[in-house]
């Protein structure tokens, strides 16, 4: 280890040894203060790195993962029908397009657990309220959640969404075009009523085809939830060239 150990350094900590010329030996307290200071600097650096990790690195990882998963889903869709098969929900059920969020397409997968959402996707609720998938054709609420920051930050620009903006859900065969009709910029995280099949808080009291986007707010924290509600306007068949519906074309 100490092949080239210069003795000047080795002696500084050893009590009783002759003081090195030009260098004051550190007292016990001075050493303690110095180590404490270095620990504080280290803690600061680690916290700084954590910010880099949460706001940048998790996005890199999640976007990579989401792109791969999304490609897989598109590949499956491109394959010719292999007879009546069950809806494959494992790799994602479709893509959410919200032009006003300017984030391209967001893959939608099942569940809102951290494991799912950390892949840079939006998840539809299975708990505490089960979301009604638009593909079932039934009335209900298609409630999804995604990260506001980090892990893809798919709903980062949710505050840019205005009433009247389109929200389009793309599946293998259909474009479900929703229109935003109400926004709740801040609500308690316990407010599960926003996910109800008929979201009363949005002013609706008849069954319908609703979509609910939830994420956390304000940015970089999780104190409240931000909720955007939309209502189905029309369903458009996907053509052979997957022409975008007019809401997504400009």
């Amino acid at each position: 280890m100490a092949a080239t150990a210069d003795d000047t350094e080795e002696q500084t900590d050893a009590p009783g040894s002759a003081p090195v010329p030009g260098r004051r030996p550190m007292g016990r307290i001075a050493t303690a203060v110095s180590v404490f200071g270095e620990l504080l600097i280290t803690a600061g650096l680690v916290l700084g790195l954590f910010v880099v990790y949460s706001l940048w690195w998790t996005n890199v990882i999640a976007d990579r993962k989401a792109d791969r998963e999304g490609d897989k889903v598109r590949d499956t869709w491109a394959q010719p029908d292999t007879g009546p098969g069950a809806l494959d929900t494992k790799n994602g059920i479709g893509f959410l397009h919200v032009p006003s969020m300017k984030n391209g397409e967001v893959l939608v997968e099942k569940g809102t657990s951290t494991d799912v959402l950390n892949n840079g996707v939006a998840g539809y609720y299975t708990d505490p309220v089960k979301a009604t998938l638009p593909t079932t054709g039934k009335t209900g609420n298609f409630a999804v959640a995604a990260h506001r920051d980090g892990h893809g930050a798919k709903f980062h620009n949710i505050d840019k969404v205005k009433v009247g903006d389109p929200v389009v859900f793309e599946t293998r065969d259909d474009w479900y075009v929703y229109k935003v009709y109400d926004i709740l910029p801040e609500t308690s995280k316990y407010n599960v009523k926003v996910l109800s099949q008929i979201p009363k808080e949005s002013g609706r009291n008849k069954p319908g085809h609703y979509v609910t986007l939830t994420t956390c707010t304000p940015v970089y924290t999780s104190r409240y939830r931000y909720v955007v509600w939309g209502e189905l306007v029309r369903v458009q068949k996907v053509d052979s060239r997957r022409t975008l519906p007019k809401e997504l074309r400009d």
Binding site: Y190, L195, T214, R225
Partner: protein, 53 residues
């Protein structure tokens, strides 16, 4: 602390600097790969769902 590490690294200043760099990168890797992913769910920054808990 860092002085102590520096003094116990072998080689001349350049070799030590190189080893230090490798050590720093190793620490950053461990933090990003293991420590932060573990710590993140414990911190209240990224809960996006509404729930009963």
């Amino acid at each position: 602390m860092y002085g102590w590490i520096w003094r116990h690294l072998p080689g001349n200043a350049w070799v030590r600097a190189l080893i230090s760099l490798v050590l720093v990168l190793a620490v950053v890797y461990i933090l990003f790969q293991y420590v932060f992913p573990w710590a993140e769910p414990l911190l209240p920054f990224n809960d996006v769902t509404v729930d009963n808990q």
